[in-house]
Structure formats: C-alpha cells, structure tokens
Symmetry: C2
Subunit: 315 residues, 2 copies
C-alpha cells in the first residue's frame, strides 16, 4: 500500500503554526500516512517531526485574491496546490484566504470535466443523517445554472458516500416555488424539470427544517451558505458552551462538528484534487479534524469516484 501524503498549509489560521504543529503531533500516527507541512522559515524548526517545505511568501486574509496570486507565486497555499497538481501529495489542507484558495485551485488544478465553478461543500449533522451543504463560501453570487450544478455535485458526493438517490433541497425563505430571487425561481424550475434525474428534488427548504434531516443535499449560493454555516456554528457553540456541564458526552458528540472549535473544514468540490478549507478561526482541534477528513477522502480515492459519478450527470 502506498503512503498517503497530506500537505498542510500552516499559514492563514489565527493560531500560530507552533500551536498547529503541536496539535498535529497528537494525531494517532499511522505508517501509511505522511503529513508534509508548508510554512514560513521561522516555524521550520519548532520541534517539528514532519517533513517541512519552506514558503517564502504568505497571502494575507485581507488581500484581494487575484492580485495576491499574481504577486506571490511562492505563497504557502500556491506551493501546496502545485504539490497536489504534481502528485507529490494526495490532499491539501489550508485555512488560508478563501478567494485565493479557490482561484489558485481553479488555475493550478483546473476543474473536473463539465464543472463551471468549484464550490465549498461541508457535512453538517441533523436529527437523521448528515446533510451536504454547498456552496458554503466559494461563490458570493451565483446564477441558476450554478445552483443546478451544485445539486449535481452534491448528488455525486452523497452517492460516493453510499446514498443511491439523494434528496435535494434548495435553501430558501419559504417552501413555495415563488420564493426568493429570480435565480432561485429558475433553479427551482430547472431542478424540477431535469430529465432522468439521479436525485429526488424536494423543493425549497427553510433554515428551520434543514435540521430535520429530510434532505441529503442542501443547495445554496456561497454567501447565504456561509452565513448559514457560521450561524449554525455560532448558535451551537453558544448553547453547548453554556450547558456543557449538563450534557451527557454522547449527546455532545452528536453536535460537536457544529461547534466551531471542532468544525472539520469544507471540501473544495469540483476541482481535480482534494482540497480542504478550514476556517481562519479554526482551533488547532478543528484544524486537525480537517486533516483527518482529508486523509479519509484520500484513502477512498474520492476524486475519481466523484468524477465518475459526475460524468453520468454532466454532459
């Protein structure tokens, strides 16, 4: 069995690279997994047992993505993206500038066949099975055709996870077909009338009922999806912190991925490679959860499975 190599961009998280390295050292080691860290020179020797690639530049969180990518070709996230492209790592984990991460993935890795726009996909817990939510932040504004593609990507993702005919919902402010913007109404119509769908379209879903777990995939634009995710995290964290001492551990476990300290990151779906985006405010624990997620996807050769499923959907 070949070693699985995971590239870890240490820059862009609010915690120092030292703290991230300390957390990564706590992961149960496996002889089949190798973590390769990417960061600036100053953190290279910080009691670091991992292979380390020095990046001379860092893209800051408030830099305009495209200008930063033009100027800083040796930034940590660009180095990571090229390693992934060249097959020197099987997955990349980063908490860096979202716009720069998405743009560099598009430019360096390129998108899967037929995909117009990559999007960020995350699983969140419900009363039943977890729901795949996309887009949670890659595309601030989208058209109906992008929403329809997100549905297809989400379908392929859930099929790769073993759900034969996933149920799709469109995140909206009411269940009626007339709700939302003209792009929502057009996406609703197109999802409802698509021929031979590999999914079942359940119509519009409101934020209240997402958590009932009646849909497998929740489709939304990246602005609304990002607010949705962060609001869920904010509320869950407030309540869980407040009542932590009263809850049995098994109940806490069920909701922990909603706690922002534990959030395992989102998959940048639709590009040729496994890229996991963690929040800039991830705790070291959340960040290592992202690394564990990347390992799991790499082990199951996820991108190939996704491309195979998508080939049936997008022509």
């Amino acid at each position: 069995m070949n070693k699985i190599r995971i590239g870890v961009d240490l820059m862009g998280n609010e915690n120092s690279p030292q703290d991230l390295i300390a957390a990564l050292k706590e992961l149960t080691p496996s002889p089949h997994i190798e973590l390769i860290l990417i960061g600036t020179d100053e953190f290279k020797h910080h009691s670091n047992p991992f292979p380390y690639i020095t990046a001379p530049e860092v893209i800051e969180m408030d830099e305009p993505p495209l200008a930063a990518l033009r100027k800083k070709k040796k930034a940590s996230l660009c180095i990571g993206m090229r390693l992934l492209k060249e097959g020197k790592i099987e997955a990349l984990v980063s908490a860096g500038n979202t716009g720069a991460l998405v743009s560099s993935a598009k430019m360096i890795l390129s998108t899967l066949t037929g995909i117009l726009r990559p999007c960020l996909l995350t699983l969140i817990p419900t009363k039943k099975n977890p729901v795949a939510v996309l887009d949670v932040g890659a595309n601030t504004q989208v058209q109906a055709k992008h929403l329809v593609q997100f549905a297809l990507i989400g379908t392929a993702y859930q099929q790769a996870r073993g759900i034969e005919k996933p149920i799709i919902g469109l995140l909206n402010i009411g269940s009626e077909a007339v709700k939302g913007t003209s792009e929502h109404r057009l996406a609703y119509h197109n999802l409802q009338t698509i021929e031979h769908p590999t999914f079942r379209f359940a119509g519009n879903i409101e934020g209240t009922s997402v958590f009932d777990g009646n849909v497998d995939v929740l489709v939304t634009d990246g602005f609304t999806g990002n607010v949705f995710l962060k609001t869920a995290e904010g509320i869950a964290t407030m309540i869980l912190d407040r009542i932590h001492d009263h809850i049995p551990p098994n109940e806490f476990k069920k909701f922990q991925s909603l706690h922002y300290a534990e959030y395992p990151g989102a998959l940048l779906a639709g590009v040729k490679g496994i890229v996991i985006k963690c929040h800039s405010y991830s705790t070291p624990r959340g960040f290592t959860n992202g690394v564990l997620g990347a390992i799991a996807l790499a082990q199951e050769n996820f991108i190939q499975a996704l491309q195979d499923k998508l080939s049936n959907e997008i022509t």
Copy 2:
C-alpha cells in the same frame, strides 16, 4: 387610562384558528387590554370570549402578494391593517403571507417620514444583551442605501429601548471590508463615513460572532436575514429538544425565544403602526408571544418614539 386594543389576524398560521383562540384565552387577562380577533365566519363562535370581526376572504401563503391584495380587499389582514390605520386598534398581529402583509402595510398605513422600505426586525438572544436583527424577511434584495437605512432604524429601535449609542454590525462572510457583494462593500463604506453618527459602526460581523453579543444591531438583507433567523431557530430547536431533560429550566429560558415554538415574531419597522409578523409555523405559544410583544410596544407608544428618534437620523 385608555384600553389598548390588539387586532389578531387568526388566518395564515398552520394551526387552526380554534387552537390559536384556545391559546389566547390562556393569556393573563388585564382590564386595560382588549384582543380583537379577525377571521373567517366559521371560527366566530368557537367558544370565543373576544370581540370578533368576520373577514370574508383570506390571502393564502402561496398567492403572489400584489395580485392577492388587488383581488381580496376584504381579506383578514387587510381588514386588520385598516383598523390600525383608523385608530380602532393600537397594534396588529398576523402570521399571514409576508409579502402581502408588507405591501398592505405600505399602502394602507404608509411608511414613516423618510423611510424607503419597511423591514422586519426581531430581537435574538446572545451571550450578552439581545441583538436587533433587520431585515429578517421583508426585502429579498436590497441596495446599499437600504442597508444604511436599516442601520438607522435599528439604531432608533435600540435607542428607544434605552441604549444611547448602539453598536452596528453588517452581517457578512468575513470581517474584511472587501467581503460580500458590491452592495455590502458600498454599505460598509457609507456606514463608516456617515457624518455625526448616532451609532458606532463595528464593521462586518460573521454568523459565528453575532452570538458573542458585541453588537446591538445586525444589518442584513431580508433573504440572508431570514435564513439567519430560521437557521438559528432550527439549530437551537434541534439541540434544545434533544437535551431538554438535562438542562436546568433557567438555562432553557435564556434560549427559548430561539426555539421556533416560542419565537415571538418580528416587528414590521418603518410603517405608521405596530405590526407584528409571526411565522406561519408558529406554535400557538409562539403566536401568543407575538401578541404579548405587540401589547408591550403599544403600551410604550413605541411608534412615536421610533419616529422621534428617526427624525434625528433621516433628513
């Protein structure tokens, strides 16, 4: 002291008017409060101790608002709006079609001086004081100038509640000024550069940090705000239901207005009259919480206070 009369539109809620009447009967009666119910003929005699106005028509939830208002001038919510305009009630509570409620309020009551668009405002709990969130559903798409006005309305609202210089946040997907759509960036700039502000602008706020309670007013468009509110309710309800038996009652109380069963409704802010919008899926208890909120606002002559504060802001 004059009696305070609250008009209650019984139609449009998912619970039957009988169930709402039963819940309203449980409210502690006060000789200074009179509830006046508005509904279709069939519910008139359902062991109803309240004055009852028969509405021959009802606007359904999936009707296009403007067409419905043209066609059904005798719908329950239009009758309620006219009673409010004529000073026959001091406030109106309805769980009806949001678009129809907003449009009929604009047409019949008209907006407060200088207000471009009314918006839905609700208070939600945080780790500190409750935050006023607006718009939570009246305007699906807005421009920067509307977001700026929502900030002014929210400021006046919190000032009327006793906060001298409210802190304003703009709901966005990152704290940096470049985040969001062009309308967000323009609103950010305009809020930052407004002369002699009666508020303090704290910049962009993410869904995670809203619940830290560091802002008094959260400004957003009606689509995002509605998703924000319903997501908060959905998560809170899932967690609270699941761990209800483990939480001390005083902790549950703190979050109960986030539980959708208890959500007290939103104020339609910016029109000449107190209009409270409850969710169509409000439980009878959530609906009566809306009535209690309307009573409180009517008792403090809230609209006059809001108009006075706004006159200082909008010229």
